[in-house]
Subunit: 370 residues, 2 copies
């Protein structure tokens, strides 16, 4: 069968012929429908994140998949069920406490593999096999958007952990700021809107006219141009934020967001930057953190409970939002278009190079139809 | 009546004659037994923290008090009840949402006054008056240690908020590190021991023989000398920590502790440093925060629920610990001894001047006996 892979020593994806998986007992065989592309894929392709499966010279890409069960093989699924796979798998040497208690998302990097990212093949192939415990059912009418369940689940977890960190007192967030107007940032902005935040903001560094700014404003949020209003000046220019979601991977934001938070506020950090030395007023930030009871939570990956929540969230998104967010679904013959420069948070709000394609937001590859 | 005050323009406490308080309706009159001295008192005296009551040129010091109700005045208390006062009071202009819902500890600094610290007189006087809602009953047999309820309540809150931040997954902390071997650090170390931490550590910068190191080891904890093992090297020298409690006010610790945390770990920040610019590897810290699901919570002050929890905690401390921790209880005639250099976290572990008196850990002033 055909798959999209990155080979050792190469920095662009190619189509390769790989063996169709032979499901082990307890695994279902899934025919792939669509697989989303995100910034992590670009990092994996560039070699700055993740790694190849042990002893192999290629990695099948893709971790945002939706498919149809074609061989249920004694799993609780039926043939024809639409499913989304979770991303983490136990290390080669076997399972561990994190997987045993259904919280692989809490495993440190060395205690897991990640399909399509680190040490395990992903889902950008005509078929994939997965143990039933790593498959989450999706209603058939959501099949076309099912590749968004994984990215939404990432924010489900981050929002859950952020709220947990504020659960020792009465926390009723009204103002929310998303740093980064990439696809993950926009999905999260829509989630804040859905959860009843009164006032939402999204920070980016793009000029109008721009399709992400259109989406931000259609969601009723305020666009904040970081070139004119840095994160630290947001309280003065707009207001202090009960919640800040960092999806830029721009390390200064992880620390500057402390100043953007309202008393009792929490910042969720999602980005994965490279090492970078810089100066901070650590004394002032430390004091601010303490005197105003602020919190920061780092969050990576997500588990089955977050995927299940994401299915509900996705079903409630307005259809215009999904239509506008997904700017391209490409067949295998046109796979390179899906890997064009996407509006990913890492490039959208950090200090990286200007974007090439200002009309692409979120893309997916289509392997088959339902 | 006599009180210990600091006057505007002065940087040492003095005894002053002040009017005995005339309780308002709903307030009880309390005869003061003992009032503890801590690092915040020294900051207030030095003028680096807090401020005088509006329109006054002196501040009665003291926020760690225990006393006996002498006029119940229609409150739910009875004469003879032993009580501890909470610290925060509404601003002069009136109450607000934080006080209305019993969470004054979550108020930003501008939305509250703090008795003996900022804008309201404290408890270092022969009598004080307080509304019933700001008084917490203490069993009579704990009266002599009652001045420790307030500092213990500070850590009750910090521990509660830290655990809340980890409540979205299964968190069973085994290793705990306290940064700072001042009295608050030692109280917190004893609390971790009480709560079943398997392995505890306490960081300081003092040479043996030293009474705080004796207490640390008597509690079964490991003393970490920061001059030999900086915070960032603790994982290699000992182990990564599920929980870190920062009680040094040394701003580098607020950021370095991210590296000392185990996957899924949380750091509670309590210190209140001055502004201080320094360089960090922000990229590495940010990535570490995210990839290992770490959290930081800032915590200040405490509310009635934390005082109530602190009473229980205090009752369970071994008596040797309290005997060794409280190195001096001084009468009013000897008040200057109570303000001698104490083993407070701020000086014990930061980069400040070496300590003068290595035998003092925690002191209190005695105003009367039960």
């Amino acid at each position: 069968m055909e798959a999209i892979v990155v080979r050792r020593g190469e920095t662009s994806p190619t189509v390769a012929e790989v063996p169709r998986p032979d499901p082990e007992p307890g695994e279902a065989l899934v025919r792939t429908l669509r697989v989303g592309v995100d910034g992590t894929d670009h990092e994996v392709i560039a070699g700055s994140h993740g790694g190849f499966p042990e002893g192999e010279d290629h990695l099948v890409l893709g971790h945002e998949a939706v498919g149809v069960v074609v061989e249920a093989d004694g799993t609780p699924f039926a043939e024809g069920d639409v499913v989304v796979p979770t991303v983490r798998r136990p290390p080669v040497e076997g399972t561990n406490e994190y997987f045993e208690r259904g919280e692989p998302d809490m495993a440190p990097p060395e205690a897991c593999r990640e399909c399509g990212i680190d040490g395990a093949h992903g889902f950008m192939s005509e078929y994939f096999a997965a143990p039933a415990e790593y498959l989450v059912p999706v209603p058939e009418d959501l099949a076309e958007w099912g590749f968004l369940v994984e990215p939404v689940s990432i924010s489900e977890k981050a929002l859950e952990h952020a709220a947990a960190s504020r659960s020792a007192f009465e926390w009723d967030p009204e103002s929310g700021l998303v740093l980064g107007n990439g696809s993950l940032g926009l999905l999260t902005l829509a989630m804040l809107d859905q959860r009843g935040y009164d006032r939402t903001y999204c920070l980016g560094r793009r000029d109008r006219p721009d399709p992400t700014i259109d989406i931000i404003e259609e969601l009723g949020a305020t666009y904040v141009d970081s070139r004119r209003t840095p994160v630290t000046e947001i309280p003065e220019a707009h207001e202090s934020m009960d919640f800040v979601y960092e999806a830029t991977g721009y390390a200064r934001h992880a620390f500057e967001c402390i100043e953007a938070l309202a008393p009792g506020g929490v910042g969720a950090l999602l980005g994965v930057p490279e090492p970078w030395d810089f100066e901070i007023d650590g004394g002032r930030l430390h004091k601010e953190f303490v005197m105003n009871n602020k919190a920061l939570v780092g969050s990576v990956n997500s588990n089955v409970s977050h995927f299940e929540a994401a299915v509900e969230t996705l079903a409630d998104f307005p259809s215009w939002f999904l239509d506008d967010l997904v700017t391209g679904v490409h067949d295998l013959g046109d796979y390179e278009a899906a890997f064009g420069d996407t509006a990913d948070g890492d490039s959208a709000s950090g200090e990286s190079a200007p974007r090439h394609d200002e009309t692409t937001i979120k893309t997916a590859l289509q392997f088959s139809q339902i």
